[in-house]
Symmetry: C2
Amino acid sequence: MDVARAAEVHASTASRALNPETRGVVSDETVARVLQVAKELGYRPHPLARGLRTARSLTVGIVVPDLENPLFPPLVRGAEAALGEQGYTLLIGNTDNDAERTRTVVATLAERRVDGLILATTELGGETVAIARDLGIEVVLVNRETSDGSASAIVGDDHLGIGLAIDHLVGLGHTRIGHVAGPARLSTGVGRAVAFRDHLARHGLVADGMVETADWFQVEPGLQAAATLIERVPELTAIVAANDLLAIGALRALREAGLRVPDDVSLTGYNDMPFVDVLQPPLTTVSVPYREMGRLAAQMLLRRLQGQDGEAETVRLPPTLSVRASTAAPR
Amino acid sequence: MDVARAAEVHASTASRALNPETRGVVSDETVARVLQVAKELGYRPHPLARGLRTARSLTVGIVVPDLENPLFPPLVRGAEAALGEQGYTLLIGNTDNDAERTRTVVATLAERRVDGLILATTELGGETVAIARDLGIEVVLVNRETSDGSASAIVGDDHLGIGLAIDHLVGLGHTRIGHVAGPARLSTGVGRAVAFRDHLARHGLVADGMVETADWFQVEPGLQAAATLIERVPELTAIVAANDLLAIGALRALREAGLRVPDDVSLTGYNDMPFVDVLQPPLTTVSVPYREMGRLAAQMLLRRLQGQDGEAETVRLPPTLSVRASTAAPR
DNA sequence: CTGAAAGCGCTAACAC
DNA sequence: GTGTTAGCGCTTTCAG
């Protein structure tokens, strides 16, 4: 260590002076000299060497199924910002929704000795979580949770979000409200469908026969499901879609059926994806604070890494409703 | 190294057997035994230790201005895929378009000893490139280039892309074509405006007075610029927007002016952002292969890291035209 | 073809 | 408060 030589101290003393944690042990004078010299020499610590010694890489991995799905970038961005503040760097892995790739990606990140892992993958048993745990890697889930709640998670409060949409529609006077649900194998699909039924019941409305399930969170399945729904229940005046892509599909189905939005049928989405505000009509949708979720997930992970392990906790962030022009009072 | 012990060879022999590059030096029999044992023991090499010794981290950083801009995720994803295939991992840094943050992010990644850097930041002198070079880090630019062409870059061929849009419109019979240009301080803004003039000239059409510049690649500035343009040139029958957001703004401006798309005025965008195909009308736009660009940037970087430095080269990828319903023959 | 020895840059345990 | 010593896990000379 050339800094040590230049400051005329031993390498270990220099190391202690450079590290805020151990700095207290060194005399103020020495600390000052070392820092001074380090600055002059433009000293940059070598994280690989440090990591080799301390078994901590100051590195966190984030695993997403599909970065091109507009839901994930804000998550990644929020996490990156929070981690950067604490001197951590973010490694990214994309799994293409493939279980096999998920395993490889997690294995790669584990091999890289990430200190922690933020998992945003969708269809994933507790399996991956267990693997990570075995390797001694802290895990925080984001936008999903394990069924047994054994892992810490940051999720949006879907029950509340669907409630916002329904309250809004009921407030406008709608009583025949349908739901284009997401796939039953995804927790978001099921959860929102359950919430839909709960909230209708709360308002004394019937949900039977008002739900049609799309088998994928995509435009085309949304179109299909919505078409089936409006054919079966022609008297409905509003549709709550389980996400924005399904809503876009529903919008098309309605248009193809000769129905106008919102004049004939009101429509709501979920997620507030970029540019749903420029659709025709601009979509009323539930806005989920994804960036904040990424941020919180990172912070929770860091807290756990800094020792305060404690119980696994699940934070459920409240969404808000972005009211736009796709909803109106029924005729 | 427990693998070595179990295989009853020296650690260095095991190391040689495990490394494909040096494997030839070891007897086939020994190689087989070591690989066998390594497999049984589930041996995973420790990249930090290796990196410490070899001064290579098998890590690449990507710097983007704003991951939430839909242009960047495909870039990152393409890069991640290509790097993963070669055993490299991707570190991500977001700069919020801030020069100061760009410096810190690059510094952090450099400190992490990334082997190479993919830079997708927009407004950036050769400064960052120079810094990285000084630190001995290979750099490849993506979606931008330095003015002097000193750094390797993968970019879209904007001149060709604008040509596709104009040829399409001219082919439909349009002769009075306007341009909503992007900001003059961005290379994409200027480049596309120049291309617009070139291609009109090629078709013997006049560009004078047909260009209006938006001062930001956003919906609102697009609306303003388009409004000004159609007021000044009411006889125009088509607008080429310099990007999709500007096109969405133009769509609104046209609608507000009581003009229908494509009946009264045809409209084209640029980038083929997610969901412009679900606009009303679906937008005809120039589709840029961003994922492919990310992929190529990563591959070019890897090639340079593997020694074949050579000259800096700029690859200009041809875009394609996605013809949708926002363009039609003039009345 | 294989073993021995050294060292990448840093930090932790142990002296003094 | 500071120096000494050792070692993280791996690769790379250098011998033999």
